[in-house]
Symmetry: C2
């Protein structure tokens, strides 16, 4: 099985960066353009973020499905819906209104436009009142 998201190239660049080299210096070493080094580094960081996100998802498997935030919904109405649903299943949400909205928006910025939910968002909650969005 292929293992690890990062390519050899990406690891190489990350190591050099960790050692404080500039993109130009790295470009000289690995014989390519600095633009390319930038691209490779960016891809590497995205891959790391994706890895984190993937493991984050595993939590939703242990959590129970709470509700679905329908596309078109006003983001500011989400907390009340979630609090109500959480109460039904007897769990206290561990986030206040503001941090709940922040968590929601941070979970996947692409799914929101201003105050509006663009696509359906599934909401999961675990025993601790932790929320996950999928």
């Amino acid at each position: 099985m292929k293992q690890g998201l990062l390519t050899d190239r990406q690891k190489e660049v990350l190591r050099y960066r960790k050692n404080g080299l500039t993109q130009q210096q790295i470009a000289d070493i690995i014989k390519t353009s600095k633009a390319n080094v930038c691209t490779i580094e960016k891809a590497a960081l995205e891959n790391i973020a994706r890895a984190r996100d993937t493991l984050e998802f595993l939590y939703t498997l242990d959590a129970t499905h709470l509700c679905t935030l329908k596309g078109g919904l006003d983001l500011l109405k989400a907390p009340e819906i979630i609090y109500t649903e959480a109460e039904k299943v007897g769990v206290k949400v561990k986030y206040d209104t503001v941090s709940l909205i922040n968590r929601l928006r941070d979970s996947n910025p692409d799914r929101f436009r201003g105050r509006q939910v663009r696509e359906d968002v599934e909401v999961y909650i675990n025993e601790d009142g932790d929320l996950y969005f999928g």
Copy 2:
């Protein structure tokens, strides 16, 4: 940015599996063959393993490069090399000979053939004597 390694299909299958459904039952629900469900589930688990592996790599960034095991090297000679190098940098390796070899082989099975190292393997060590291979 695309986020998460798992496709919707893969998440769907994992959720049904978590709920105890058989591959056949899932196949009926999502209207495909059970073989396909198996493939999707397997791919999902591989992706999760890859995510873990990716984050594991981050540790090597905080570690210092110890040495390179050259292709063709006898695997059984690796521990001595590593112990010697670790001593030079003043760190005690936290693995005995046997578990060191196991860790090495587990790190990436493809890189070994029997007792022989096929490709160069970079060895990293951190302050705790933990080893990472890249």
